[in-house]
């Protein structure tokens, strides 16, 4: 490698969807949560962030490009991650461990990151983004070991995107946040029958950002405090047990209850925060009626701080349920592909089932469905052609 050519690493990281929700910080700067949480890592074939980090002594300053646009590198949370990574790198050097050849601690970095899904889809891209950033920076600076505490300081839920499969974020109790980290509960291979459907709601602006939303909730909601202290600890245990046993009915019921309770605490916030809308209510009604019709819990919904629904379901029921969604949210005829991602067999609905659900079809509610499954954690792309930065350390032109 010529001395002036930048050292470059490209990695990818997944999106995760919580089934026990994170809402509320006990420390804003370190991003320490008021309760533990648990999530499912989605497969990167459908949803991922790709990040290239280049390091060179010739770079004048740290720079970052997100989805094709240069952004301010001085964002405090970006700075937290860069600072923590460099601190660890210095520590390794002073401990006598070697770094990566050619990467000086004083070298500046250029960062380029893209998502393979539209930001407008309202999927929490900051988790995948910060996980990918921290994972890639760590490779550049030759750092190994526990990285989720650093990703956490970029975006709380990013710590859970550092692992594949089923992941818990243990809230920890120390003031410095060293014990507030993610752990894999089960790997992505554990429950191969589990499928995930992201019902992407037709574009709508997120009314209240999650950072300021959770601040207001912590300040004003009595119910959030009670949830964090008295409901979540037991729910985490039950959820982990359900995941380990692959007990879908329990997993699904806890997932729905926890989503509802999170949104209940948003409503108990003053002034109240609404993330659920008429489309979400239709999805919730549809899932409960569908499960009731079948006399068992076959489908679970969960909603984050936006209007999309994420559905957990076993493989054997996917075809029918997708058809149910198609029936009760008739796609626009002139729209693009309604079903994206993993293929789903066609299915025909019985009149009995349609009547049992008994809702009015709502057109234009759901833009499309992303069909996916549980997936692995971040990984390195060895193929140099995939670098997002060119040999000068600047974003490659779109080809």
């Amino acid at each position: 490698m010529p001395e002036d050519s930048p050292h470059m690493v490209t990695c990818t990281a997944p999106v995760n969807i919580a089934v026990v929700k994170y809402w509320g910080k006990r420390n804003e700067e370190l991003i320490l949560p008021i309760n533990s949480s648990l999530s499912v890592t989605l497969h990167q074939d459908q949803l991922k962030t790709t990040t290239t980090v280049a390091s060179s002594r010739s770079f004048q300053e740290d720079r970052i490009w997100l989805n094709g646009k240069e952004e301010d590198i001085n964002h405090p949370r970006l700075q937290s991650c860069l600072r923590e990574i460099r601190r660890l790198a210095r520590k390794r050097r002073s401990d006598g461990k070697s770094g990566v050849d050619g990467v000086g601690l004083s070298h500046k970095v250029h960062i380029c990151s893209v998502n393979n899904f539209p930001t407008a889809a309202g999927l929490a891209s900051s988790a995948a983004g910060f996980a990918c950033l921290v994972y890639t920076l760590a490779r550049v600076f030759g750092i190994e070991g526990e990285l989720s505490v650093i990703a956490r300081q970029g975006s709380g839920s990013a710590c859970r995107s550092m692992y594949g499969g089923f992941v818990q974020w243990i809230m920890g109790c120390s003031d410095d946040g060293k014990d507030s980290l993610a752990q894999q509960v089960e790997p992505e291979s554990h429950w191969p029958e589990l499928r995930v459907l992201v019902l992407v709601a037709s574009a709508e602006r997120k009314p209240v950002g999650s950072t300021s939303g959770m601040q207001t909730s912590v300040k004003t909601s009595h119910l959030l405090k009670h949830r964090a202290e008295s409901v979540v600890p037991q729910r985490m245990e039950e959820m982990i047990k359900a995941v380990r046993r692959k007990d879908f009915a329990t997993f699904a019921e806890l997932t729905m209850k926890d989503s509802n309770q999170f949104h209940a605490t948003c409503l108990d916030t003053y002034p109240p925060i609404f993330y659920l809308n008429a489309v979400s209510r239709q999805v919730i009604g549809l899932v409960h009626q569908y499960n009731r019709h079948h006399g068992e819990i076959r489908v679970a919904y969960t909603f984050d701080a936006g209007p999309n629904a994420v559905i957990y379901i076993l493989q054997e029921h996917v075809a029918e349920f997708v058809q149910v969604v198609r029936h009760f949210f008739p796609p626009e005829t002139n729209g693009g592909q309604f079903l994206r991602g993993l293929p789903v067999d066609p299915a025909v609905l019985s009149e009995e089932l349609k009547q049992a659900i008994g809702l009015e079809p709502m057109s234009k509610g759901i833009g499309y469905i992303i069909s996916t499954k549980v997936g692995p954690g971040p990984c390195v792309l060895e193929d140099r052609s995939q670098h997002l930065l060119g040999p000068e350390g600047l974003p490659k032109k779109n080809e």
Copy 2:
């Protein structure tokens, strides 16, 4: 009075709107609540139930007509009220107190009840209805004293309609429910500047009835239990203090928080219950933006188990706020009168105010506004021409 002519009494009773909500029973049969609650009695000029009870030895059986239609007298809650009234009447006789001349304990009753507002308005008519029934029956049977414990057994919130002004329902602690009763906190004359606007949402079916809804909530919501045990006791004290001091800002903030918390516990119910819809969310957004614009809390909303909003506001701000509602919920041009009840002066909105609120007007959301104020408790109509039953004890023909 000829011996065979029925003894007849006609009374009226008011609707009440809780500002600390009742949701959840600890005893279904006696209707004992899991928390105390507090309400404002609305004026009967706008909203009332009128009930005539006739009693005669010639009646073969107890009968009841509601809003022009004969209903089943064997409804358990009707039977509870009739049984309790007759038990008290017997007790008075055996205590040597006289009843009303000519009314035998064995006499059957005919009951006829009408509301002066459409049932479709979705206003909790059962509170006014049972309050009126119990109040009228008590007059017929010559019973005095504490009657709210009996009204409570017809419909929980009916006990609060037994008084005018500001009324608390003290939850009580005894198993027989004798200490679970209503008390007037302040009379209707206490706060003459306080006005009430009922924003009647365009007709929509109530998705889950309150009786079964609260049963499910008590069974499944952790947050409801916490609310009842740990939030409401202090909130009741604060609310009573705010009412006594006529401290509108505190009264209004507590009212909104309590409404939101009640709906939060509905959402925390499994399966979740939704009473708030897109219209409610628009009202909530509008009120918070309006208050923010003025830099003080001038308006409060509260929602019960239905889509109507009830607004508390001081007289001086009514004209402007009604115009705000008219602007953001444009009335149908071909509809009836948009504003009913107490007259409201016209007002012109500044562009600045409209822009500060910043919502898209939503047409067809609100059918009409009932403008009213705090009012008195049940009363007797002395004018015999107002009896709803004719001399035969049957409903008078509509005239």
